[in-house]
Subunit: 127 residues, 2 copies
DNA sequence: CTCTTATTGATAATGATTATCAATAATATT
DNA sequence: AATATTATTGATAATCATTATCAATAAGAG
């Protein structure tokens, strides 16, 4: 016996999968409470941390502010923190992986993980 | 009167300038203590935070672990956290700014700041 | 159905960061 | 040079997010 599937774990995964709003730990907890009134905060922390460890979830630091946001690690992509609306926007840049590989080869290093966070103004707010 | 130059501020700036080891807040405090036995930890926090706000210092989140490291924001560059020796290596990639500009234009967004943190194996440890 | 133990919920503990505030010292003004 | 103003400091308390603890629960193997 190594891993067990619990109701709580399923709820948390479902929240991450259905709410692509890059929620904070607190927001995930609040959403989880709506599904299960009795879920504990520590349970949310434990599960999210394990998902990050296992590489299934990305932990996004804010460029300016404190704190972290979380996102499902589906396709490699980056995030833009919008200074105007405050949202975190997914940026799918085709050449991202290519660029990372280029850095690795140019600098003779091995890159296992990468994190690119942008800060500025999103498409919507620019208009 | 807006800003004042203090002995403490100078010590902290000198530490950041001379020690390109990407120290943590604690490490900066320890180094500062060697220069001035009476410097307070809160003073280090206050000064570093202001330098980050003013854009003179970069706050680098660890990809895997918790906590932050700090670095003078001289030329735009990125950082590689080495999983072998634990050091943070500066990576000066010529096309970095070009790549960021490309993302901005491809996605119709304005990018004011960016943060790229890499995790893997550095040049030295690879050998 | 029973047993093992991973996981949970509640709560205490931790630890890093921030707020508070009187004392100090930088610098503008006299 | 002396004084006044107030930004900054150092010490400490307060805060807050995260983690550790632990008995109770429940997932899943046998």
């Amino acid at each position: 016996m190594n891993q067990r599937n619990t109701k709580q774990k399923e709820i948390i995964l479902k929240i991450l999968d259905e709410n692509r709003i890059h929620p904070t730990m607190q927001e995930i907890y609040d959403l989880a409470k709506k599904e299960d009134q009795n879920i504990g905060q520590a349970t949310v922390y434990r599960n999210i941390n394990k998902l990050v460890e296992d590489g299934m979830v990305i932990k996004i630091p804010s460029v300016g502010e404190e704190g972290y946001h979380y996102d499902i690690n589906n396709h490699p992509h980056t995030h833009l923190v919008c200074n105007s609306c405050g949202k975190i926007i997914d940026i799918f840049e085709n050449d991202y992986e290519k660029f990372i590989k280029k850095i690795a080869s140019n600098n003779s290093v091995i890159i296992k993980k990468s994190l690119l966070v942008l800060e500025g103004i999103c498409n919507n707010c620019k208009k």
